[in-house]
Structure formats: structure tokens, C-alpha cells
């Protein structure tokens, strides 16, 4: 069951978050579409861990302060958030744009981190291997391109969002634009510092990812050689939805295997 949302304040910024479960802290760093629903993946994680899912500044129920203008800003903000909540030995799990943010956190300061999991992360650009243009696609195109399984896209597209949901979708879209329009969903200064990531790292990717091709997994592995990499077959950009059980099983094994 979905927990009741709460709002905390960090650096003078109101941050909406969901928190449920007991155990090791797992900080879930959401992607470009925000946290639209309490997913089975969240239910599973919160059954084993203390799961914390904040809305990034600019997204969902969080404030959108002028002074937070980039993904590196978000990374420093999350270092402050972990201090504020006094989280220790945190397992970061980031998907898509959230994988980018999680990596930016890890290259800066690992002192509160126990492990890093990135799933289909943005943030690194390989010349000649473009991302899908999420800013050019219509909502329907984007929804269809995110999932390989079109039944999921059909189901999402058949539901008419409420006005409140539309407002959040638009707010999220503004925030993604602020953080990711230029350079397009990557930071030219991230890749050269990925070697600083020393904590156990898990990289997951959907084989049929149409937003960020799964061939990127190889580059990430080159930069973080100790990382474990899993590619999910018959899966698009969001393994935590399309390959939820398989991803959860691996993430659980991975987290439980990390010596703290």
C-alpha cells in the first residue's frame, strides 16, 4: 500500500517524499516523469528496506527554487538531504534521469553511501549514439517509445489524467527541461569523473531501450569497471516497470550482498 506523502524542508526547499518500510535505507531517485504511481517495484522494496522516494526540486510536490538550476545542483542538494535526514549507508537507486543524478551524487561524496544502482541512466553521451528526443515527441509517442510492451502504453494512454495530474505532469516537464534540455540529458563533465565511484555499483538496462540505447551499458561498465551489469531482454526504458520482478530480485541480491 502506498504510504502517505510527507513534506520536509531541506536548504529552505520544501520536498515532497514517500517513505515506507524498515531496514537499510534505499533512496530512490526518480526519472524525468517523476513519481506518478506507487509501483509494485516500490511495494517490493519497501517490504525489505526503508524506502525513501523524494520528488526532486521542481517536480511533484516539491518547490522549484530558482537557484537549483542543474543536475549537479540536484546532486549537492541530495547530499544535504541525506545529512538532514541523517541517513547513513544509503543504497541509491536511480532510473533514467535519476540514474544520472545518483551518479552525480556518488562522484561528489560517497561518505553516506553504501551502494549505487543505476537503471538506464542518462548523463553520459556517446557521440553517434543519440538519445530519443523526448522533447520532440508527443505524449503518445513518448509513452509508446518508453515501453516495449505496448499493452502498458495502451493502458496508460487509455486513462484520462485528472486536472491535478495534468498540472503535475506539466510541472515535471518544465523541470526536466530546466535540467536536461541543453546539453541534452547529459553532463559533459560526468563521464570523466565516474572512476571516482568506488562503492559497489549495479547497472541495469532494458535491451530494447528506445530512449537511451542499451549499448551505453558497455561505456558505463568501462568507466566503473567493478560494476555488475544486467541487461533485461524484452524490456524498454523502464525495467523497474517492465521487468519489475527480475530487477527487484537482482537489486535485492545486490544490496543484501553489500558488506556495510
Amino acid at each position: 500500500m502506498a504510504p502517505t506523502g510527507q513534506v520536509i524542508e531541506v536548504d529552505g526547499v520544501a520536498v515532497g517524499l514517500l517513505r515506507q518500510g524498515k531496514g537499510k535505507p534505499v533512496l530512490f531517485i526518480h526519472g524525468a516523469n517523476g513519481v506518478a504511481a506507487w509501483l509494485p517495484f516500490f511495494e517490493n522494496l519497501s517490504g525489505k528496506y526503508d524506502l525513501i522516494i523524494p520528488d526532486h526540486p521542481g517536480f511533484g510536490r516539491s518547490d522549484d527554487p530558482d537557484w537549483i538550476r542543474s543536475v549537479p545542483d540536484l546532486a549537492f542538494f541530495y547530499l544535504d538531504l541525506m545529512e538532514k535526514l541523517d541517513l547513513r549507508d544509503v543504497h541509491l537507486v536511480g532510473t533514467s534521469m535519476g540514474g544520472w543524478i545518483a551518479s552525480e551524487i556518488a562522484i561528489r561524496n560517497e561518505s553516506r553511501l553504501a551502494s549505487l544502482t543505476v537503471v538506464g541512466p542518462a548523463g553520459v553521451r556517446i557521440k553517434g549514439v543519440p538519445f530519443g528526443d523526448i522533447f520532440m515527441w508527443s505524449n503518445e509517442e513518448a509513452t509508446r517509445n518508453i515501453f516495449l510492451n505496448q499493452a502498458i502504453a495502451d493502458r496508460l494512454l487509455s486513462v484520462k489524467p485528472t486536472d491535478e495530474q495534468l498540472d503535475v505532469m506539466m510541472k515535471n516537464r518544465f523541470a526536466v527541461t530546466k535540467y536536461g534540455w541543453q546539453p541534452r540529458m547529459f553532463n559533459p563533465d560526468l563521464e570523466k569523473w565516474l572512476h571516482r565511484i568506488k562503492i559497489p555499483t549495479f547497472i541495469g538496462w532494458g535491451r530494447e531501450d528506445k530512449i537511451i540505447p542499451s549499448s551505453y551499458a558497455e561505456r558505463w561498465k568501462q568507466r566503473i569497471p567493478h560494476a555488475k551489469v544486467s541487461i533485461y531482454e524484452n524490456c524498454g526504458h523502464l525495467p523497474h516497470i517492465e521487468a519489475s520482478d527480475a530487477l527487484f530480485a537482482e537489486v535485492k541480491t545486490f544490496i543484501d550482498g553489500v558488506a556495510v
Binding site: M136, F174, K178
Partner: protein, 391 residues
Amino acid sequence: MKFVLFHLMPYRNLDFVAAKKYRSAWTLLPNSFYDPVKGAEDYAAYIEQLVSGERLGFDIIGVNEHHQTAYGMMPAPNLIASALIQRTKHVNIGVFGRALPLVNNPITIAEEFAMLDNMSKGRLIVGFVRGIGSEYHTSGVNPAFSHERFHEAHDLIVKSWKQPGPFAFEGEHFTLNYANPWPRPFQNPHPKIWIPSQGSAETIHWAAAPERRYPFVVTFSTAEAVERYLKVYRSEAEKFGYEVSSDQLGWAAPIYVADTDERAREEAREPLERLFNDYLPMPWEMLIPPGYSSLASTKALAKVRTGLGVERQTLEQLIEKGTAIIGSPKTVRERIEQMRDRTGLGNMVCLLQFGTLNDELTNRNIERFASDVMPFLQDRTSAKKNAQPAA
């Protein structure tokens, strides 16, 4: 009233059937559709049309900037303005306008405008715009910072014209140790600045502020919207404590004049429908990228439409809504008079070539408008100008 002979310079020789396979004539329509031989002919004809504006008594001849589109072939409008300066003696030259947020160093805009102002001995009028949504896709500039970049670039350009250099400029987006552009503008302190816009409340409020009082031009909107926006400008001025002058209120519209309403409609139909249904349309994602308008404005826009030109518009609808002014000299005159009487409109920006309108009909339209419409509405004194060199 003052009259502007305005041009968009569309690429006319477009394969419209093949082009429809792409989502827009902007950004994604392959430039292999452009035939340089045909395009070069268009440039030559369009420049002649604008130059004729001086002989025919227009107050201003005007160009504008658009990128990566068949809709308009002027990514660098100053190049056309420069050519017009060499071909004319007295008429004012309007660049309506340059898209300030799209450049990385706004001083280049200050420099180029100052050059044109000197080359024309003070005949330049400039426009400042933010660029259309699709131009944030083509330039890569982040639309989330569009407003900030516009205001910063504006401040830098105007300051560089008014304040002796060198000075340092310390912005969020633009930082320069040395702002010291040569030449200075010919006009003192600088050319008039106009603000062409689709009419956002934020823009109107900013343009009307007493320290600016920038003439505002509503572009390509229904008569009802034009009236509403011009009235908003008037009431903003009142709130600032001054009465708006007609010089501050403008309207840009496609206009076609012929002997009779029937004939005008017949001749204008295809070119006008091409403009609105082939050249202009773009989907929502290209038109209003996130952040281009404020969250509140974007929500309001999202409720009324998705994209531009998604629904086909006929000539009759465009006339009915007052977006286009098509008819006999009497009809056209009355439409403009009506708007003037309702709003105090003082600047009429006339798009007399539009869509695929050919040279013969365009030239006839320009001459007909100049002889049978304009003299009845034009300020007697407005043809004369007195530019003063910088002190």
C-alpha cells in the same frame, strides 16, 4: 497611422504533398526540399517588393528572423536590411525582430544594429523577440531560461547603446568584462525598439512600463485577440499612470486588396490557406516547449489548443475571425478603421506577400493597397522623419 510593408520571405516552390509527410515545415522538413535556383529568384523578387515600398509611400519596410523553416528565408534579417539600405533613401527600415535569447553574445546584436543605423543614417527601427518555440529546438537554447535570457540580453544591448563603454556586464547568462561596441548607433540614444508578440500578459506589462513604452505589435491573431491585447496594453499604461499613444499600438496581419471582395478572395485563397495550413503549423511540442511561456500561461494555452494550425483553416474562417484582411479597398479600409477606432491602433504591419502569392499578384496587391487604402488612413506627417545623429 503608420504603415509597414512587411515580408516573411517564404520559400514558395515547396512540394506541399511531399512536405506533409513531415510534422512541420519547421525544424524537421529536410532542406533538400530547398532548390537554390528557385530560392534565389524568391530573394530577388522579395527585395524588389520591399524596395518598392519607398516609392509607394510606406513609412517603414520590414523584415524578420526565423530559422530552419520554409516559412521564412531570413535566418539573418540584417543581411536583407543591409541590402534594403543600399536600395532606398528615405524609408525607415524595420528589423522585427531579432530573437535575443537565441544568441550567446547579445553584443553582436547591438553591434550589427548600430552598423545598420549608421549605414542608413538613422533609418533603423529594431524589434526584440524571443523566437518561436521551434527555434529552441534548432538553436539548442534552453526554453526554461528564455525569459531570463531575453531580459538580460535586452538590458545589455540597451545599456551598451546608452552608457559609454567599456563597462563590465555581470549577468546570469551573459557575462562580459568589456562591453564597448563600435560603432555607436546613429540615432541618439538608439533606434526605436518595437516588441512584436503573440500577446503574453508578462510581455505586455514589461513593454508598457514607463521607462520603456515600447511599441507593441500583435502578430497573426484573430481580430478579437488583437483588440483584447491592445486594450490590455492601454490599461497597463494607465496603471503605470500615463496614457498610451497610438504609436505604441500595432497589428500585423496578412492583407489582400482587389477590385471586389469576390476577386480578392479568389486570388488570395490558395496562398493564404497555404500560409496557415502548410507553412505555419507545428505540433504543441515544437510551438510551446516547456518554460517558453510561464507555467500559468502554458496551462491556459494547453486548454485551448494543441499545436498551431492543427485544424485546417479556410480563407472564409480567417476573414471571419479577422486574422486576415481580404477584400475590396473599401472592405480592407473599413476593417483597419474599425480596429483603429476600437483600440487607437497606430502601426499597421502589412503582410502583402504571404504563402505562395506570386510576384504579379503581390506587386498588384502592394500597389493597390498603397493607392486605395493607405492614403485614407496614413498620418500626413508620418512620411517625413528627422533622425538626429548621436551627440
